[in-house]
Assembly symmetry: C2
Homo-oligomer: 135 residues x 2
DNA sequence: ATGAGGGTTATAGCAACTATAAGGTCAAGC
DNA sequence: GCTTGACCTTATAGTTGCTATAACCCTCAT
């Protein structure tokens, strides 16, 4: 059984991406220039779909498109050591953890602000006051 | 004692902001058009500085410049109820918590990826494989 | 008077899309 | 056979919150 090729809209639906985003990735070279049918429509194979899934999964994990370009080039060198991949994932984990700590700081600050407001008018509102104080 | 006015660079230093950013805020109307000296240099009062501190503190808490525009307008209506301010902070807290949960999901995913890699070559690397699987 | 270190404006670039315009294609229903 | 609507094409501009660059002006110490 031959694989059916997908149009950009079908691929978009299949991968929960927007068609414009797919074309955007192509324009950046993250996806190869798609095959075209006789009237210029893009056609995608299962392999193209896999590559897009890879990109979207990586994006969902917080990698930048530049990071992803690198990850993709790793995945194209099937005989290379996977140490570099490992390192890249580990570094991303570090970044994510930093960001979490960051946000937990904000969370506490915001909670503190909410706690210190007793209602009433702005003039007496300790929130607005707090925001004007330097740290 | 009269207040000394600050130049943009001095204000920048005093508030840990960059001069360009201050001018940018002015261009957006977040800061009022600054007073100028005879040769066109911007001059800032303590009140201007307070407003900038407010903006920067709010940015540090993750508010967008649009949010901040709103917060500033609240703080300019000193007799209004602070309920709206409260609500805005509470909403931001919700968003921050969502983002934290999000990132904790990523954290686990990344950890899982790292755990499943046994070293070796890319071809056998379960990380790359995992990234190509749809969720 | 010259150079360093401020200041001024306008414009372009960054990431990762998203939106819009202006048009070509295709399958279905009448 | 024709129209309608949903798709496709490209190119360009907008989004957020800055940052960088260019090209110029001002001030002060040497």
């Amino acid at each position: 059984m031959i694989e059916p090729k997908l149009t950009v809209g079908q691929l978009a639906t299949a991968t929960d991406t927007k068609a414009v985003t797919i074309r955007y990735y192509e324009s950046l070279g993250l996806l190869p220039a798609a095959q075209r049918n006789s009237s210029g429509y893009r056609l995608y194979s299962a392999q193209d779909r896999d590559r897009l899934v890879f990109i979207r999964r990586s994006r969902a994990l917080g990698f930048s498109l530049d990071d992803i370009r690198e990850l993709l080039s790793f995945s194209d060198h099937r005989q290379a050591s996977c140490a570099a991949v490992d390192a890249k994932i580990a570094e991303q984990l570090v970044q994510v953890r930093l960001r979490i700590r960051d946000l937990q700081g904000l969370e506490q600050e915001l909670q503190r602000l909410i706690d210190c407001c007793q209602g009433g008018v702005i003039e007496q509102c300790r929130i607005i006051e707090s925001l004007t104080e330097r740290h």
